[in-house]
């Protein structure tokens, strides 16, 4: 019985439900802070546990191997800081009477359920229940995106719901196909839907079925991960959602979708060999990087800008997993770095939005002078996202390039070129905002908001900087285990 795992998954669920019942803003904020702390601690403990004894499980329902633990870590840290930021952000909105107490409460309820659904999806042992959890996260996200009820928000939400429901449906068909082919070896039982069982019998599964299944899953969950050309909902949703939600979408939900794809990839690799999945994943990954790199140029809205950057980095990470070898290490590590950097960027963007109450890049400048916190957050995370050391994204990108170069040089050439392009186009926009003289005064933020958001940003950037050049040995163990899952040896997870 792995307590950390249970606590990690249960905390946001319970807190979320509690938020529906309790009254009073302060109380909710306290609850949220507790949740943030608990998530951080339990995530750390869970990682420690898994490092110690390969896997942590709660009955047959929850089971966390290295892969799950890694994503738990990402979701845990970013979820925690995200919660803190949300407290600060919503608190400010509350003070400005933009949200009523009821909707304030409702927001946090949905927010926590959203986190809970994602954490469940990452740790659940049953393929289909993972699907259910992911669908759950989609639906709660849908409510959160439309939270502000503006026309734009509604449109974005509608597109999100429709496109992702379709995607998720396709993913379900893929799941059914897996089940369809596995139940012949494992019988018509829920055994046939257990990841561990699937890995065990993977090489016996029907190849065509698994291939088709992977295609459905890749497109289905790929829609959720924002892979080009299924990414079209992503910029709208990220731009129109309340900023804490945008951060969570980028840092957690896309990562979660990648997790789902990887799980199936691990099965498919065992059945039909990594060449097949690698081809598809690398292709879509490169396409995503390319499109994002170009689209940076035409962005007028800084939240959309960071949304496209998410598309780019998810593409990069998947590319790493696609090329295999050291690329897997790079890819997994890249996901963590990206989650931290991107959420920090969105925190900064949120502060700017609170101050200026518009999202136009050209009307924002001199952030470093006018609001040092947001400026630093946007500048540093922008530099990190562009792939500059001392932040880890540089190292992970180099590792991915190295993996690509050993596997297929042509991919590596394209990859390096696109990275350079993305670097230029992203930083062009970021520097426009961060540097120069402030133009608009904007309205000041209350101290609670500043306090909470500063904590969130600080934690993110601190962790990002700390793991930039030297990952803790525990992380290293996890990553090596993940490499083994996808590696040539295909050790059982």
């Amino acid at each position: 019985m792995a307590w950390p795992l249970l606590i990690l998954v249960a905390t946001p669920l319970l807190v979320g439900l509690a938020c529906l019942l309790v009254r009073g803003r302060r109380l909710i904020e306290v609850l949220q802070c507790c949740q943030a702390g608990t998530m951080l601690v339990s995530a750390a403990l869970l990682v420690d546990w898994v490092v110690g004894q390969q896997e942590a499980s709660v009955d047959a329902l929850l089971r966390a191997d290295a892969l799950s633990a890694w994503f738990d870590l990402i979701l845990g840290i970013v979820g925690a800081t995200g919660t803190l930021f949300a407290v600060g952000y919503l608190g400010e909105e509350y003070d400005r009477q933009h949200v009523t107490p009821r909707r304030h409460r409702l927001f946090f309820a949905q927010f926590d359920l959203y986190l809970a659904a994602m954490l469940l999806a990452v740790n659940v042992e049953n393929v289909a229940i993972m699907w259910i959890a992911i669908e759950g996260s989609t639906l709660s996200a849908a409510m959160l995106i439309g939270f502000e009820r503006s026309k734009a928000a509604l449109e974005a939400g509608w597109k999100f719901v429709i496109l992702n429901s379709v995607g998720i449906a396709l993913a379900l068909f893929g799941t059914i196909l897996v089940y369809y082919s596995s139940e012949h070896l494992l019988g018509v039982t829920s055994e046939a839907l257990r990841w561990s069982e699937l890995y065990r019998v993977a090489d016996g599964l029907d190849q065509t079925a698994i291939k088709l299944a992977f295609v459905f899953v890749l497109i289905g969950y790929g829609t959720k991960a924002g892979l080009v050309p299924m990414h079209t909902w992503l910029p709208d949703a990220h731009a129109e959602a309340p900023t804490p939600v945008s951060a969570m979408l980028s840092a957690n939900m896309l990562t979660l979708a990648v997790y789902a794809i990887l799980r199936f990839k691990a099965v498919a690799d065992r059945t039909v060999g990594p060449a097949f999945t690698g081809k598809l994943v690398v292709g879509l990954g490169l396409l995503s990087v390319a499109v994002a790199a170009i689209f940076f140029l035409v962005q007028r809205d800084y939240k959309r800008l960071f949304a496209y950057s998410s598309i780019e980095h998810i593409g990069i990470a998947l590319l790493g997993f696609g090329v295999g070898g050291i690329g897997v290490f790079g890819g997994a590590w890249h996901l963590l770095n990206h989650a931290l950097a991107k959420s920090a960027a969105f925190y900064g963007a949120g502060l700017v939005l609170l101050r200026h109450e518009h999202k136009l890049v050209e009307r924002v400048s001199g952030l470093l002078r006018s609001m040092p916190l947001a400026g630093a957050a946007i500048l540093l995370s922008g530099v990190a996202l562009a792939g500059m050391p001392p932040f880890g994204l540089f190292a992970s990108e180099v590792l991915i390039a190295a993996g690509a170069f050993t596997a297929r040089p042509d991919v590596a050439y394209a990859f390096l070129a696109l990275l350079a392009l993305a670097f230029a186009t992203l930083l062009y926009q970021v520097f426009r905002m961060a540097l120069g003289e402030p133009v608009e005064p904007g309205r000041a933020l209350g101290w609670p908001c500043r306090l909470f958001t500063a904590t969130a940003v600080g934690v993110n950037l601190a962790v990002l900087g700390l793991i930039g050049l030297q990952v803790p040995s525990g992380f290293n163990t996890l990553l090596s285990a993940i490499v083994r899952i996808f590696g040539p040896g295909m050790g059982s997870p």
Binding site: I132, G157, A169, I176, T189, L193
Partner: protein, 219 residues
């Protein structure tokens, strides 16, 4: 002998499901579309029950019952309400006109069978054909979402996809574990509610649910 006969019946049921799909594609009146969807769900439930009876896997009965309750009774009600509220009776303009649509759907059905061809031997002797049909229904549902402009018809298209999935799950795969079935149904229900809410708010905001007008967010 019985199982052979049963296989015939199951295939028949699946075929009826497919036919209702074509009918929905061809139908312009929204309320009629909803009715057709309800009819399709009835066929679905019947097929599922048949499979349950023939295989003796009892929890499929529950699934069938749930289908009746949710997809035949609840959801059509909701949709009807929405239609009345929005007083849009028929859809005159489509992205793809009906004959072309039907042709494409035929093509999609063939594609589905072609793709699932290699998987047939895997399937149970009882439900050989249904996987292809399931895929066909999913694709056609998807196509409907593209072809139709009104939010309601898009929702119907999505529900048709769901039916296809359900057919695939129950008929060809002899049903997922019960917990899964329940979860899926729950999700579908909640999804419908949320979509309903959105349609509602969109109507307030844009006083129309012609989703082809939702194009303010773009580069």
């Amino acid at each position: 002998m019985l199982s052979h006969f049963g296989a015939q019946i199951v295939d028949l049921g699946s075929a009826l499901l497919l036919l209702t799909c074509f009918a929905i594609v061809a139908q312009r009146r929204l309320s009629a579309c909803v009715d057709l969807f309800a009819l399709q769900s009835v066929f679905l439930a019947a097929t599922a029950a048949l499979v349950a009876f023939l295989t003796g896997i009892h929890h499929i009965y529950i699934a069938a019952a749930l289908t009746i309750i949710i997809k035949v009774l609840v959801i059509p009600r909701i949709l009807k309400k929405v239609i009345e509220r929005l007083n849009v009776t028929r859809e005159l303009v489509m992205n793809v006109n009906v004959p072309t649509g039907l042709l494409i759907c035929g093509g999609l059905a063939m594609l589905a069978f072609f793709i699932t061809q290699p998987l047939i031997p895997l399937g149970f002797q009882l439900t050989q054909g249904s996987l292809g049909i399931a895929l066909a229904i999913v694709l056609i549902g998807f196509f409907t979402m593209i072809a139709r402009k009104k939010a309601v018809t898009q929702v119907i298209g999505f529900l048709v996809m769901e039916n296809g999935l359900f057919l695939g799950a129950t008929a060809s795969a002899y049903g997922m574990p019960l917990i899964v079935e329940l979860g899926v149904f729950f999700d579908v229900l909640v999804g419908m509610l949320i979509v309903g809410i959105y349609a509602h708010r969109l109507q307030d905001a844009f006083d129309s649910v012609d989703t082809s007008q939702l194009t303010t967010l773009k580069e």
